[in-house]
């Protein structure tokens, strides 16, 4: 369970990081989304992983740490709002600049000069 969890978080953040470093706005937005999923998973695990525990305090039995759940909920809401904003911004940039490069310059120009 622990290793599966760790590998999932790691793969998500690696993919997110790779896509965030791309030159066009769409992969960047997708990358940021993946990164925020990875962060949410990570936040979940920060109180330590408990299996078969109750969600909240259940007498003197085993229970999961409730604080990370509250934090992850906040982080999901904020991340969702941010993603929506980033998508709209990327569309505005595409419309106003005429291309979807993060620096606002045309990709084709550069390739032509390289040839």
């Amino acid at each position: 369970m622990e290793s599966l969890y760790a590998i999932t978080t790691g793969v998500l953040s690696a993919c997110g990081l790779y896509l965030t470093l791309r030159g066009r706005t769409f992969p960047v937005v997708v990358g940021l989304t993946l990164l925020s999923y990875a962060v949410n998973l990570f936040l979940f695990s920060m109180g330590g992983l408990t299996t078969d525990g109750a969600v909240v305090v259940n007498g003197d039995g085993d229970y999961a740490d409730p604080l990370p759940q509250a934090l992850v909920l906040t982080a999901i809401v904020i991340g969702f709002a941010m993603t929506a904003f980033a998508v709209i911004l990327a569309m505005r940039a595409r419309g106003d600049m005429g291309n979807d490069h993060v620096d606002g310059r045309k990709h084709e120009d550069r390739e032509e000069t390289r040839r």
């Binding site: 965030t20 706005t25 960047v28 940021l32 990164l35 925020s36 990875a38 962060v39 990570f42 936040l43 695990s45 920060m46 109180g47 330590g48 604080l67 990370p68 934090l71 906040t74 982080a75 904020i78 709002a81 941010m82 904003f85 980033a86 911004l89 990327a90 505005r92 940039a93 106003d96 600049m97 993060v102 620096d103 606002g104």
Partner: protein
Amino acid sequence: MIQHLIVLPVVLPLVMGVVLLRSRFGSTRFKRIASVAATLALAAISLALLLRAADGEIAYYALGGWQPPFGIVLVLDRLSALMVMLTSVLAIGCVIFACGGDDEKGSNFHGLFQLQLMGINGAFLTGDLFNLFVFFEVLLLASYALLLHGGGKSRIQSAVHYVVLNLAGSALFLIAVGVLYGATGTLNMADMAARLGELPAERNGLVTAGALLLLVVFGLKAAILPLYFWLPRAYAAAPAPVAALFAIMTKVGVYAILRVYSLVFGEQAGELAALEQPWVWWMALATLVAATIGVLAARDLRLLVAYLVLVSAGTLLAGVGMNTPEATASLLYYLVHTTLVTGGLFLLAEMIAQQRGKAGTRIVKGRPLTQGGALAGLFFLGAAAMAGLPPLSGAIGKALLLHAADAGQRPWLWPILLISGLCAIIALSRAGSTLFWRSHEGERGGEPLPRQQWIGVSLLLATSPLLVALAGPISDYTQATAAQLADPGALVSALLSDNGGAP
């Protein structure tokens, strides 16, 4: 009522922001009056908080009545009171200036402005690490929208960089908070400070990783060397009142570094104490050098002022890196000065651009200005204060910082800080003489500027002589603040004993 005063700097802008967003199709006059009145009320509240904190009392406000360390608290001490006061003074200048016409270039300026103030005040007041993240997000969301106010290619382009970088920064912030919570089991900063002292040694590595990740996040906000490249373009592209308010945003980063590392990683943390210090010191000096080169290279007045913001960020962080109470006291004095004066210079650059028409703020020959005399006078005042020429406040702030450096730090700080001052004088005098003296022959152009813009700019730039006149009381206050910061035990015991000033 009096015990609820601490939460008002967050609640008042929130309520006003919602009201102003709701009445977005209402009359401009109503929005302007409401926004200015709310900002003035905020200043009155901040003044009351400042007077309350001045006698050294550390008060806290437990939201929902949940006592620390379990509930979320807002903490009022000398440092947070000073920062909230500074924010509201800067905001008055910006909002009055915006009433001169900038607010109608897009929609919802005043509502977003109030929400931004809410985020900034909340970040200054909160005593909880996760809550700090939430308030950072509030101020960032408002700033994304404000940066785009009015539209235009350069704004959208710089906003893409700004938003993407800050989203990545938020992800790092969450990871850092998660690591620190996993290692210490708490998010309350005072409680975390108390627990770090008795932390088992095998968790030291985890806490170090979390703490340095936090430094990256705060460094991104404060614009320290490898993380500052978003700043000049974003600040140069932002509308003037927004750019002026952004002058406090880098200071939010400086404040967060000062607060987290003096409180959580103070002397009681044992091996982990002051773990950020070598990083901050050297990177601050490198920031100063890079920003000075940028100041000399800037060919646009707004870009020049943006690089001056970077110079001041480097100067402040060098003070943080010294990590002595004297250095903290002098950096706080310098922080007040530099925030207000750079804010004023951003506003002034916009006024100059309006009068110059097509030439804008580019430092090239343009047509003569209609109100050139008054603008030049204000520019001279602002430039002299910013470059650190006596008798204005910049000189006092820099002299205090230079004096606070110890023998090992002087060979580094003195030449770099003094040469950066010299380069600022060169760049500002070149800009001023080109803008005001080397103009084309011909008709003076440009409409007379609205009265509100003159009031806003004069208000911010007039604080510089005022800071000199009141240098005695203000530096007494900053010294007391530094002494309070150097003794995190007082804050920890004020929060974690049960007899605090909770409602």
